[in-house]
Symmetry: C2
Subunit: 135 residues, 2 copies
């Protein structure tokens, strides 16, 4: 299938990388905030579609991972989109429980800004994100 | 550096993959919509930080890529965030010109929904995204 076909088709042809994974961007369906970035293999995607609850592939643990299975913070799929060349997914989710999406306890994994101060690039914790204690 | 340190530090330690790339999620700073998913190598990130305009690494062309250089749709960085383990970036941008971010002419590369109809997974074009003509 040519690139142009991938862009214009209504056939679902997710393209997994050489490692068998496709990136998944996860946003909170209500606030729009990006809460997580994760990976799916074919099985995780199949389970996500059939259960409407987010499943991922953990690269560090090399295991299928039902998000929230232990914490209770499962992510229900409100909407799923795919990009032009079908190699990235965007999940809009509703997170159960206290709305924590990051294993650090933060609402979003993106709880730090990249800042420039005096020509040096550093990070700054964003108040109210519920991130870990800065060191 | 241990994982816990990566999560709590204010040191900027972006972790590039084995291919030298880090994923970049791009959202429209005003609407919050995810408009693009791209990759950066070290140079693209450095240029993005120093110019405050998004630069990426094109995997298909194997080349540094200043987004909008030919189309005029450059992306000014409003905010840049990094995730807990510093292996994913989130750019909130303001797109110049007509606000098109996708090479297909769409506002966002994510102009199609993944839907289930009669147990079959298909795609559906989202009206008003300005995506290509469906085939």
């Amino acid at each position: 299938m040519h690139d142009h076909d991938l862009e214009t088709t209504i056939e679902f042809r997710p393209r997994f990388g050489a490692d068998g994974l496709i990136p998944a961007i996860v946003t909170d369906a209500a606030s729009g905030e990006v809460v997580m970035f994760a990976w799916m293999n074919e099985e995780a995607l199949r389970l996500t579609l059939s259960t409407r609850v987010a499943h991922y592939w953990s690269r560090s643990r090399q295991a299928l991972w039902k998000k929230g299975e232990t914490s209770g913070n499962t992510q229900s799929i409100v909407e799923l989109r795919i990009d032009c060349d079908q190699d990235a997914l965007w999940l809009r989710v509703e997170t159960a429980g206290d709305g924590v999406n990051c294993h650090t306890g933060a609402r979003s994994c993106f709880y730090r800004l990249v800042t420039d101060a005096d020509g040096e690039t550093r990070l700054a914790f964003i108040p109210d994100e519920g991130g870990p204690e800065p060191v």
